[in-house]
């Protein structure tokens, strides 16, 4: 658990889990969700003659952050919880922020969000972190942090 959470009494406990995978599939008949290839690193290989310094490198493979939320007893029937997904690069800079609404329709107690990230622009080697935050009051507080290593494949 990230250090921020240990003494933070404001966390709502609506967040259940978050997982990074290459893709997920949702069976709409049975409502089952399957996660395919849970990942924590991306290896980049270069074809012969590729000029690595010529232009910024973009990772063009999509991956998914699947995040699971549960409504609290005291929440109203039709309730929307604000969350935020941040992509933090190896230097610690936040390279992308995506605010999202987790919508609990009436009779819905839990929601699974499949956030499809269509690659990374201007990639840097090292460890990226995907930070999952929820809105408590006016602030977004972190509830999960998932590492993703980006490495060069050495043949």
């Amino acid at each position: 658990m990230p250090d921020k959470l240990k003494n933070n009494k404001q966390i709502s406990n609506r967040h259940i889990w978050s997982v990074l995978c290459t893709r997920s599939t949702h069976d709409t008949d049975t409502n089952e969700l399957s996660l395919v290839n849970v990942i924590d690193q991306i290896l980049i290989g270069f074809p012969p003659g590729f000029d690595r310094d010529k232009s910024p490198l973009n990772i063009n493979i999509p991956f998914e952050l699947v995040t699971f939320w549960q409504k609290k007893q005291e929440d109203p029937e039709d309730y929307t919880h604000s969350i935020q997904i941040e992509l933090i690069d190896p230097t610690g800079s936040i390279s992308r922020v995506s605010p999202l609404d987790v919508k609990f329709a009436p009779q819905t107690r839990r929601v699974r969000m499949r956030v499809r990230i269509e690659g990374i622009e201007g990639v840097k080697y090292g460890t990226y972190n995907i930070s999952v935050k929820e809105k408590i009051g006016k602030n977004y507080l972190e509830v999960a942090r998932i590492p993703l290593d980006v490495k060069e494949k050495i043949d």
């Binding site: 290459t22 949702h26 008949d29 409502n31 969700l33 290839n37 849970v38 990942i39 924590d40 690193q41 991306i42 290896l43 980049i44 290989g45 270069f46 074809p47 003659g49 590729f50 000029d51 010529k54 232009s55 910024p56 490198l57 973009n58 990772i59 063009n60 493979i61 991956f63 109203p76 029937e77 039709d78 997904i85 992308r96 995506s98 999202l100 919508k103 609990f104 329709a105 009436p106 009779q107 819905t108 107690r109 839990r110 929601v111 699974r112 969000m113 499949r114 956030v115 499809r116 990230i117 269509e118 690659g119 990374i120 622009e121 290593d149 494949k153």
Partner: protein, 126 residues
Amino acid sequence: MNIKTLKEKLLLDKDFADAYYQKDLAFNIGQQVFLARVKKGLSQERLANKINTKQSGVARLEAGRNLPTVTLLDKIAQALGLELLIQLKDVSTQTYLIPIAQTQNSPQASPYFRAESASAYRIIKQ
């Protein structure tokens, strides 16, 4: 006050919410009947004759004005050469897919990528 806020306020009332979601179901059923009838090339009057009712009754059903009985739906399904399938679905967990951010394609020959798990793991057998 906008529509969204008004709807949220109204749905706090249980009686209103019950009536609202029943209407939603009636509308969904009406839509399905309408689409199935049109696909079969039948007019409302012809379908009404097949199920021994009036054209106005079919029109009200398709408009979602009332909730039909299962018996009536079964008659409609048979009249359209279809099978009525009733499914009880758990909606306590919803799933949404949200795509975010597109990358620009690199003008160079593309490097290749492989996503994998580097984590060590143990299989625990009991």
